[in-house]
């Protein structure tokens, strides 16, 4: 029997929402890791019971949690489920929290500086994991996108993490400048047709792609225009908010930039604007229908100064033509006095026959549409501010 498991990261803990394939009745489980910021949680495509979580705190730093039973129990990788996390002899259990930039002579790059908000150079400092992207094939392999921008990989189920330093060592690093949320690597997309190819995005450096498994990276920002910057069409310096791709059509990418919705039909080598008739093309979240690769979804936000929805109405916009022509979707969504935001990793789709669309808001609501966006229902309304939403389609 099919069903869905929605993984929700919030400012104050993680929640797991489950339903059968009808997606009408929901069970809400949580909070897990109460009081901690859960930037992201995502299940392995190779093993639905394997879930990785980024648990973080301005006070206490970064923790990685893992479940091997679909979110029933959790442990820090390196500590087997059910075993005490306290060993008198010590041991390497804390390694799973350790994200240290690779500066080794063999595989690393020197720890240099990036541009700070005021234009001065600032040393690279690890702050948190924004996004965890499990491998498509191996449950023990996953990638982590971090702030200050870098990408790490684990091949032992999250116990240890090693930087793919070629990205930070791209050479343009000193020009990378943080966006409002920090110099964060927030998007990681794996190519199902080519295990050597990975796309990533950094606010506010732009998008990059590797075609050799992470050794070298290419900036892929041609066609992006960022007004109010010294060179609007520069190779580096674009505030890419999120990128989405239908796995059945690798290389066709959709991007929500700070302003502008963009698409690329050549794996990011060239981008063109498809904002079309959107009421505002500022926003964070973007996603693609699971079965209709030209059907895409965004949630326009009033502006970069206001960070809430347009006209106090929560509206998802859908394009069935791959952009340019957009229709508002409002059925079931609040259409007055609404001042929430939908953050970059807070939208996801399931892969049931009738594609489900999900998003969470900074007001703590998580909405589901079981009919590809035609109508919406709130699964929950009063969670802490939602940072991320991911969906696992079970038994499909």
């Amino acid at each position: 029997m099919s069903g869905v498991r929605v993984l929700v990261g919030t400012r104050k803990g993680a929640f797991i929402l489950t339903s059968d394939g009808k997606r009408e009745k929901w069970e809400v489980n949580g909070p897990h890791f109460a009081g901690w910021e859960i930037y992201h949680m995502k299940g392995s495509p190779a093993d639905a019971n394997r879930i990785y979580v980024s648990q973080t705190s301005g006070w206490f730093g970064q923790i990685i949690q893992r479940s091997d039973d679909g979110g029933k129990t959790w442990h820090q990788p390196g500590t087997p489920p059910g075993e005490p996390t306290t060993t008198p002899e010590g041991g390497p259990k804390g390694e799973s929290n350790k994200f240290v930039y690779d500066t080794s002579l063999e595989t690393g790059k020197p720890l240099t500086t990036h541009q700070f908000y005021d234009g001065t150079q600032h040393p690279w400092e690890f702050k948190r994991v924004w996004h965890v992207e499990p491998s498509l094939k191996d449950p023990d392999t996953a990638y982590a996108g971090i702030e200050d921008a870098g990408i790490f990989r684990t091949t032992d189920g999250g116990k240890t993490w090693k930087e793919l330093s070629g990205l930070r060592g791209h050479g343009t690093g000193p020009q990378w400048e943080p966006g409002g949320g920090g110099l964060c690597l927030h998007t990681i997309i794996l190519d199902p047709s080519n295990p050597q190819r990975i796309w990533i995005a950094i606010s506010a450096a732009g998008a990059f792609r590797t075609d050799d498994g992470g050794k070298t990276w290419k900036a892929i920002n041609k066609g992006l225009r960022s007004l109010s910057t010294p060179n609007p069409e520069a190779e580096i310096g674009h505030c890419v908010h999120h990128i989405a791709m239908n796995p059945a059509r690798p290389g066709v990418m959709f991007m929500q930039k700070h302003w502008d919705v963009m698409r690329s039909d050549d794996a990011g080598d060239n981008w063109k604007e498809v904002s079309g008739n959107l009421p505002t093309d500022f926003g964070f979240a973007i996603d693609v229908h699971a079965h209709e690769p030209e059907t895409i979804y965004v949630v326009p936000i009033k502006s970069d100064s206001l960070h809430f929805v347009n006209d106090a109405k929560l509206t998802v916009y859908r394009s069935k033509s791959g952009g340019n022509e957009w229709e508002p979707l409002t059925k079931g969504l609040p259409q007055k006095d609404c001042y929430v935001n939908v953050l970059r990793d807070a939208m996801a789709v399931d892969s049931l026959d009738k594609c489900g669309i999900y998003f969470g808001t900074t007001g703590g609501q998580v909405y589901c549409s079981a009919d590809a966006g035609d109508s919406w229902n709130a699964i929950v309304r009063d969670l802490p501010a939602v940072l991320s939403v991911e969906v696992q389609t079970l038994g499909a």
């Binding site: 009081g35 206490f60 010590g90 259990k93």
Partner: protein, 100 residues
Amino acid sequence: MPEIRVVLPYHLRNLAQVGNEVRVDVDGAVTMRSVLDAVELRYPMLRGTIRDHTTLKRRAFLRFFACEQDLTHEPPDAPLPERVVSGEEPFIVIGAIAGG
């Protein structure tokens, strides 16, 4: 070998699955460094949460107290007060911003 009492903040107690106070054996001089080394050895899941993994510098929003004294900015190898060494008073790790 002195047994040192250490009070941890709420979230770190949950992470280590311990109560309000833990006790650790410290070999040699009792200093902030040796106490925190002992805490991290006994509770390895706390590595990186109080001090940076590699530099071992205190995380910015944490502070250290003992015997009603603010030890946050004391040298890490300075001896801790005798009442901490004797177990009369705990060494306290606390979040710098508690609320408000």
